[in-house]
Symmetry: C2
Subunit: 255 residues, 2 copies
DNA sequence: CCGCGCGGCGTACGTCGTACGCCCGCGTTG
DNA sequence: CAACGCGGGCGTACGACGTACGCCGCGCGG
């Protein structure tokens, strides 16, 4: 495979699987393979060992089935990942909207962060166009509810959501990097910086890069205390919400 | 290779290449291969045809050299990509800081966006820990200059930069997706939505998903007019800067 | 002038996604 | 009740990929 998820030439095929258009034949119903069983197995593998471990062979193996049997239900790996993503969206909570818009948006941000923490592979899979499966649509609809009726235009509502979710994904990615760096190297984040420190000090001298070395040290100290990514998430989220509140106030003031 | 860029077990080796610690031998100086020639060729390939086309075989070919010769200068593909990334950072403009912090940050955001537009492969390559090469350090130092002396703590300065750059990367990714979807399918963004429309209308009915269908249509209309991602970038950037101005004002008011 | 070190590379291995065509057993039909 | 056809299941094979390994042959230091 070339990319993590390649553009599908045949949208109809992709959508048909996402929306489970095909009714199960009387033959296969009950036991045997199914898109759902395949997707479940694939998600389990990706959750436990990351996207790199997700192999068509592995999926078949996990289901006690030949590799090529998987292709009976799924056109290819790209489409499988698509369905995995949409399925993951499906398991998100969709509580009734409560509180003011800021509380609601904050809740949504945290729910999305939690999703990415449960399924870090999504951060590497979602690099191309959104999947347009049933659960993404439901999620979109639900999340739009958080910013409805506060005076924004439709386009602004979409932009606000995009902004917040983008921030969440950025933060989640940073956090996830720390985690799987620790898994890959066996070093904690602090130890990793320690091991690089001597090298860095050779080049990143205060006289050449005064600001970078000072701030880098300060930020590094935070990292050592192991709450770097969390801080970035919280700080950024509040800034983003502050920024949104400016528009909301403008609109409330009647332009 | 497993991931687009895997964690390197040997930081010293990676850093040595990034910082070009090895002095050229009298033998190889002048003609022949070099890390620089390899990196240049690799960037050209990735710029023109994307990360997927970047193959060790292709790189050797482009240099009129056997595949394995590349490995004399670079330990592996992951490290090559690392150097490519740092090199790309090196070609960014670093104008003297002018104007107030908001103007400066906005300038930085736009410069970074331009970088990603010139080298879209960076958006898919930079999934793991930052590269810590000389140009990234210089860039970091320069960009910190934009938020220095406005009353923020060191950690806050880092967080502000992270937030802005994160937004830029998110937006750039969306924009890039549109571009290479058009390249892969031969369809424009508008045509792509057109081709999905019948399917979408089957499921995304206003009665089931009232908000999603309405806002989706509105946002889609914008997309059709081909300025979706740009709008998201501009809108988000202003929101982020508004949010930052709140902290700056707080700090200026003496806490 | 000689030897050896290093730049350069041919071959080969293990991995991946997946095309292709076969088989077998079930549900349907006469 | 028997024959058939179809579709689920899969073994094999192919063409990528990254890269380990070991061999050359050139050019410089002694």
């Amino acid at each position: 495979m070339a990319s993590e998820r390649k553009a599908t030439a045949d949208p109809a095929r992709s959508l048909a699987i996402l929306w489970r258009t095909r009714e199960p034949t009387s033959r296969s119903a009950g036991q045997g393979l199914s898109v759902d069983r395949i997707v479940r197995a694939a998600i389990d593998i990706a959750d436990a060992e990351g996207l790199d471990a997700l192999t068509m062979r592995r999926v078949g193996e996990a289901l006690g089935v030949g590799t090529m049997s998987v292709y009976t239900y799924v056109p290819g790996k790209a489409e499988l990942v698509d369905v995995m993503i949409d399925t993951a969206y499906g398991e998100m909570p969709r509580p009734a909207v409560e509180g003011d818009w800021r509380v609601r948006l904050e809740r949504i941000a945290r729910d999305n962060l939690a999703l990415y923490q449960r399924h870090p592979w999504m951060l590497r899979a979602e690099t191309t166009r959104p999947v347009l499966g049933p659960h993404l649509v439901a999620k979109y609809d639900h999340e739009l509810g958080a910013v409805a009726d506060i005076g924004l235009t439709d386009v602004e509502m979409d932009a606000v959501l995009t902004l917040v979710l983008g921030h969440v994904k950025s933060s989640a990615r940073s956090a996830s990097e720390v985690v799987d760096l620790e898994r890959d190297t066996g070093l904690t984040d602090g130890q990793w910086w320690q091991s690089h420190a001597p090298w860095l000090e050779t080049f990143l001298t205060p006289d050449r890069y005064p600001t970078a070395s000072r701030v880098g040290t300060a930020a590094g100290q935070q990292h050592g205390a192991a709450y770097g990514p969390e801080y970035a998430f919280e700080f950024g989220l509040q800034r983003v919400l502050d920024g949104i509140s400016v528009v909301v106030a403008e609109r409330a003031a009647g332009r």
